[in-house]
């Protein structure tokens, strides 16, 4: 070996054609590593998409999860349940990845302890709720519509006022979250949102 090759070291070795292994064995090894990587990635991704993962933080378990347990999305006559990720994590891959990356901000605030006590959480509730409302408005309530598609709604089976509200609302280009706020968690201080529906206005 001459001096030049020695200097380049292992890095340039990676760029030289292999003299020992056949193309097939290299492809096979690459394939196996690829499957392991992708499988591991998806398994880890699915693990963070479980309700048990969400409520492994006391911030979630003590506040929003407790409130959600009293609502129809947790318990109802037909036994269909929508868990945290059903509403808060997009199903489609690209949107899901974007949401997962954005969630790193939540880890940062977990480390800061931004909502580590009920009092801190209550102080931030409006801001947090408005973040979710804004996202849902932007996506036309995409996560709601995974189950509640208005194309499959039979208006004639709905209550008197629901028929009117749904037909008029959809015609006006409104989306689920425009009316259905606070259905799975308690409402924040609504003074700034609807002063006519709060004490003291």
């Amino acid at each position: 070996m001459n001096q030049e090759t020695k200097k380049a070291g292992w890095w340039s070795a990676l760029w030289r054609p292999s003299v020992r292994y056949s193309v097939f064995s290299l492809l096979f090894i690459g394939f196996v590593i690829g499957v392991m990587f992708w499988g591991g990635f998806n398994t880890a991704m699915e693990a963070t998409n479980q309700e048990s993962f969400c409520i492994s933080c006391h911030e979630m378990e003590e506040n929003v999860y407790k409130e959600y347990k009293n609502t129809i999305h947790y318990s109802n006559r037909t036994g269909v349940r929508a868990t945290c990720p059903d509403c808060h994590v997009p199903k489609e891959w690209t949107h899901k990845m974007i949401r997962k990356i954005k969630a790193s901000n939540e880890l940062w605030h977990k480390a800061l302890g931004s909502i580590s006590t009920p009092e801190k959480f209550e102080a931030k509730r409006l801001e947090l709720a408005q973040n979710v409302w804004r996202t849902m408005k932007e996506t036309d309530s995409r996560e709601c519509r995974n189950c509640h598609s208005f194309d499959s709604m039979d208006y004639t089976k709905q209550a008197r006022r629901a028929i009117q509200q749904h037909t008029e609302g959809f015609d006006a280009g409104q989306t689920c979250i425009d009316c259905h706020k606070g259905i799975a968690h308690s409402l924040p201080d609504m003074h700034d949102v609807d002063p006519s529906a709060v004490i003291g206005g």
């Binding site: 009293n70 609502t71 129809i72 509730r125 209550a159 008197r160 006022r161 009117q164 509200q165 606070g182 308690s186 409402l187 924040p188 201080d189 609504m190 609807d194 002063p195 006519s196 529906a197 709060v198 004490i199 003291g200 206005g201």
Partner: protein
């Protein structure tokens, strides 16, 4: 001697009073022993949404003709007012709250619903078909009876 008599009287009262009370007063879970499981509460089936229900006398707080399970009424928000407030009733096609609800306890008219009228379910209640707890011969006032 006088002292002793008084003690006897007090003790007798306590013993007798206690035995009388034990027979007549039952806790909310009835006479069930503390270690035994009590009977489950009756399942209440709320009346489905309907047109406004008739009143039995003029001053009666109107009944709620729909389910209100899970409605939040606290310092943060009042779910009822998101449809029944003066700002929202037209859009929601709902009954608006009466102007009497804007009068404070000192008789001053306020811009928003008064704190003493804020907790809707103190007077307004949804309906369910249940057995009356006690007998009742009440009849609505004549003028409001259906003809």
């Amino acid at each position: 001697m006088k002292h002793l008599l008084r003690w006897v009287a007090v003790t007798l009262c306590c013993v007798l009073g206690h035995s009388v009370m034990a027979e007549e007063v039952a806790s909310l879970r009835g006479g069930t022993n503390i270690n035994d499981p009590s009977l489950p509460a009756e399942i209440i089936r709320w009346q489905p949404e309907s047109a406004p229900l008739p009143r039995d006398y003029v001053q009666q707080p109107p009944l709620i003709p729909h389910k209100i399970e899970g409605y939040q009424i606290n310092l943060n928000a009042n779910k009822c007012l998101t449809c029944h407030s003066w700002a929202n009733y037209k859009k929601a096609n709902a009954t608006k709250i009466s102007p009497t609800h804007f009068r404070g306890r000192d008789g001053i008219e306020l811009a928003n619903v008064s704190a003493r009228r804020y907790f809707c379910t103190q007077c307004h209640v949804p309906q369910a078909n249940t057995q009356p707890l006690v007998g009742n011969s009440f009849e609505s006032v004549e003028l409001l009876q259906p003809r």
